[in-house]
């Protein structure tokens, strides 16, 4: 059996006494698209942020590609990774944020090359070529000299996807990538994500776009109150929810 890309067993996380994750189990197979759905405050984003160690989980086991996130096991002890080692782990995981978080002081092209040049020590020429390829792929090859503030939300999010892909990640995390967009711009971002899914990229997507989940996801997880309430094939789970909570959630969002 191959090792799953992401494996969470009983993951807990609290912020100052409030338990946001209360024992989450989740498995993401290689090359699959997993959608996390649920009401706000259910812990979807926190779980996603734990996967690339933007947040530190308090208890449970969290593995990416078979490796523990943020720790290394030596004997029967877990040693916390230092800044540089954590950075090494993160560089292999792409992340796309709800509010894009493009570097405002850099042009579109520099946004996409900075990680390659500064983190992966790639030659600027090679990085530029790769960045232009990716820009063409997300349909923005004429925008490389623009600054993020000069782009629409949808364009910014596509640049953000290109920026994450430039690092050659083995896993892509999307944190509500279309929630900050005007309705008519949602489609262009989802199209890029669908293309990416077709190339076999492993993706974990926190989303409120149920149609996207139904069409693209291999597995959907419904979180509520910090636990997984229901999971499975989206065509089954979304069409015939087994739990009353998911039923009521779907009736509100659909």
């Amino acid at each position: 059996m191959t090792i799953p890309m992401v494996e969470a067993i009983g993951v807990h996380k609290s912020y100052g006494g409030v338990e946001v994750l209360r024992g989450v189990d989740l498995t993401v197979a290689r090359g699959e698209v997993t959608c996390l759905i649920g009401p706000s405050g259910s812990g979807k984003s926190t779980l996603l942020r734990c996967i690339n160690h933007l947040e530190k989980h308090d208890a449970g086991e969290l593995r990416v590609d078979g490796e523990l996130v943020g720790y290394v096991a030596r004997g029967d002890k877990l040693h916390e990774l230092n800044d540089r080692q954590i950075c090494g782990e993160r560089a292999q995981i792409g992340m796309v944020f709800q509010r894009f978080n493009l570097f405002q002081h850099l042009t579109v092209l520099d946004n996409i090359t900075i990680g390659q040049i500064k983190v992966k020590d790639i030659e600027p020429d090679v990085a530029n070529t790769k960045a232009r390829e990716l820009l063409a792929r997300v349909g923005l090859d004429n925008k490389e000299k623009h600054y993020p503030a000069q782009l629409s939300g949808g364009q910014q999010q596509r640049v953000a996807i290109a920026r994450a892909l430039a690092m050659g990640p083995k896993l892509m995390l999307f944190d509500e990538p279309t929630s900050a967009l005007d309705p008519e711009l949602v489609g262009e971002v989802l199209d890029v994500m669908k293309d990416l899914a077709r190339t076999g990229m492993t993706m974990v997507v926190v989303t409120h776009e149920m149609n996207f989940a139904r069409e693209v996801a291999n597995t959907v997880y419904f979180l509520d109150g910090g636990v997984i309430e229901e999971s499975g094939d989206p065509r089954v789970v979304l069409a015939a929810p087994a739990t009353p909570r998911l039923k009521s959630f779907l009736s509100k969002v659909l």
Binding site: F97, I114, K118, P148
Partner: protein, 337 residues
């Protein structure tokens, strides 16, 4: 349709009577200022000038500039003043570089999650902002009375590697740089901190998610964006520092103020030499302000959709605006026929 058959109505602009009155008053005051600046008065020495014109001998009092412009121009480019100006600029730049470096380090320490580091930074700021800079200047000037010798070695042991005599190491100029720089560090730390706080947390998260280390995130992502917030008050500090250097004149450094003071204490043209120094301070301030404008413009890239215009471009648009104001505006009127 209006009565004269014109399809555009004439617009009567609001009359700003208050503004006009105030502008008139300002013009009068300005004229009075110019008049007094260029006026001449009889010499206070009672000196008289006599001339023989067509065989008639006429005498009248010697007239001199009220503000002594001849004295001002005589000393304006004197070597003593220019040497003082160079020292002032050196002091300002060295103290500011030291201050900015200390300020950024303190600001990063202040924002650290380590309580010891943040408290240390806070205490530094508390101390150096809480005591007068004049006192600090004299403290460093007299440091050799407290520490005669300085050595580099292992703390709390007798092992030393290098040994200095404080008196020869810390000259008056060095002590002035240390005093002004350390003091400035306290103010700069607050400015740098406000800049760092102003950068959205999402920028740090995005940098982390690309695998940047904390140092890289700070250097490549956070600081360049913080600069936009940091530069305007830093320009203010720089200009303020230029003039604060005049305090070290009393601690043995002959800078611009000290130089004019030396001259006027021998020729008693006190006000004229103060004018010489003030004009130089004004000139340097003007140059610094221009530099600040272009620096701000450079770091505003990406933050605004369109960059602020240069002063020349702004002047052009001002002229266009004034010209347009004197044309009678006309608004096309809807045709109701």
């Amino acid at each position: 349709m209006n009565s004269n058959g014109d399809d555009a109505a004439k617009v009567v602009p609001v009359r700003h009577y208050g503004q006009w009155g105030a502008s008139f008053g300002a013009v009068i005051l300005l004229a009075m200022l110019i008049h007094t600046l260029q006026s001449k008065v009889p010499s206070q020495t009672g000196q008289r000038v006599c001339q023989t014109v067509n065989g008639n001998r006429a005498c009248h009092p010697l007239m001199v500039w009220r503000f002594g412009w001849d004295v001002v121009s005589r000393y304006f480019f004197s070597s003593e003043i220019l040497r003082g100006l160079v020292v002032t600029i050196e002091l300002t730049l060295i103290a500011m570089f030291l201050g900015i470096f200390i300020g950024v380090v303190l600001a990063v320490m202040r924002l650290s999650s380590n309580r010891l580091l943040s408290t240390t930074a806070w205490t530094y700021t508390w101390f150096f902002r809480g005591t007068p800079v004049y006192v600090q200047i004299f403290f460093w000037f007299f440091i050799s009375t407290i520490y005669q010798n300085l050595s580099l070695g292992v703390p709390f042991t007798n092992i030393t590697f290098v040994h200095f005599h404080v008196n020869s190491l810390i000259t008056a100029f060095v002590s002035a740089c240390i005093a002004l720089g350390l003091n400035e560090g306290a103010y700069m730390s607050e400015i740098a901190r406000s800049g760092l706080i102003a950068v959205d947390e999402g920028q740090t998260e995005a940098a982390s998610s690309l695998g940047m280390t904390r140092a890289q995130t700070l250097r490549l992502v956070v600081l360049p964006q913080a600069m936009r917030v940091i530069i305007p008050p830093t320009g203010n500090e720089l200009i303020s520092m230029l003039k604060t250097t005049s305090l070290v004149g009393s601690a043995g450094v002959i800078e611009l103020y000290g130089a004019q003071n030396n001259i006027s204490s021998s020729n008693f043209e006190v006000v004229q030499l103060l004018i010489v120094a003030s004009l130089w301070y004004l000139i340097v301030t003007t140059i610094l302000s221009i530099g600040q404008f272009y620096l701000e413009r450079h770091f505003s890239r990406g933050a605004l959709r369109t960059r602020p215009p240069t002063p020349i471009a702004r002047l052009q648009s001002d002229i266009r605006g004034v010209v347009a104001k004197f044309r009678t505006p006309r608004i096309a009127k809807a045709d109701h026929s």
